[in-house]
Symmetry: C2
Amino acid sequence: MTAPPLANLINELTKLPGVGGKSASRIAYHILKRTTSEAESLANAIVDVKSKIFRCSICNNMTDVEPCAICSDPRRDAGVICVVEEAFNIPTIEQTRDFRGLFHVLLGALSPLKGVGPHDIDVGGLIKRVQAGGVREVIVATNPNVEGEATALYLAQQLRPLDVKTTRLAFGLPVGGDLEYADQVTMAKALEGRREIT
Amino acid sequence: MTAPPLANLINELTKLPGVGGKSASRIAYHILKRTTSEAESLANAIVDVKSKIFRCSICNNMTDVEPCAICSDPRRDAGVICVVEEAFNIPTIEQTRDFRGLFHVLLGALSPLKGVGPHDIDVGGLIKRVQAGGVREVIVATNPNVEGEATALYLAQQLRPLDVKTTRLAFGLPVGGDLEYADQVTMAKALEGRREIT
């Protein structure tokens, strides 16, 4: 008995990641309670993002200018490229304010199970950037899971002939966590990667 | 360094209930990966809901027809009115398929702390419907919290002169729950409301 336009919005919302039936319903009723202009701001933002955002031709980051703001920033160190699986991994690294190099978005990770092979992700673009010269280090920041690890190993292998240092993000205990909640594998990695206190 | 149209969408999304920064970012990147027509379906659904949905003049339910589909359904029992705080409480009760009466949406609950008094919620409309005759029972389905309880008591008091049975939803243990997780107050209510096994 839910009115069709409302049922339609709830249905559209459940297609979003992390939004189940209850959340969709809660969001829909929230939109109904807001003003029409507030609803339009949200609707316009959705349409705008699709019409104005595209991938940077150099690094595959999501951008509204070509090349993207990171690739075109002269203050950034073009000698270091951080490789991530998806564009949304970039803000996570940028938040640290510790990385001043450039990025390369692979657009996925190797996954034989999902049928994703080396030609389905943008390894070629990364190799070309390194071959063009000036790159001292490639930091592989793929996800800390089986697929991310497989991708990291594959990249290291592809980059080996190119005289560039290839590094991987450290594995270990999450800061602020509790030792007793660490899983076996993380704990083993934390032990293995232990560093001397100086 | 997030591109402005993307930052704008993320900002608009964080205004939605239950959507924090991380979820907003995840949803925004999800929209970017979908087709333009899928994004437009969502945007249109948002605009549509605001232009086509209004409140039923009888029960305050959200509807696209006047009166709403529930109020105009001849198969429903007009002798029983279930009173809820918000329109989004209606689907929760409809899901049970056990209720075949009509609804009345109060548009809130009494809350001296939030400055919501009897004149800020639609008690008047309910009284008029009961006064119009034919109503045997009013089921008060306000929330099981302090404000919902205060509202239920106030309604019972207002309805007393009108020769109508006023009932309240039962309090007790949630089905499927575990006894050890029941809080003190719920447990006390469950004991108090105990029923003979026949």
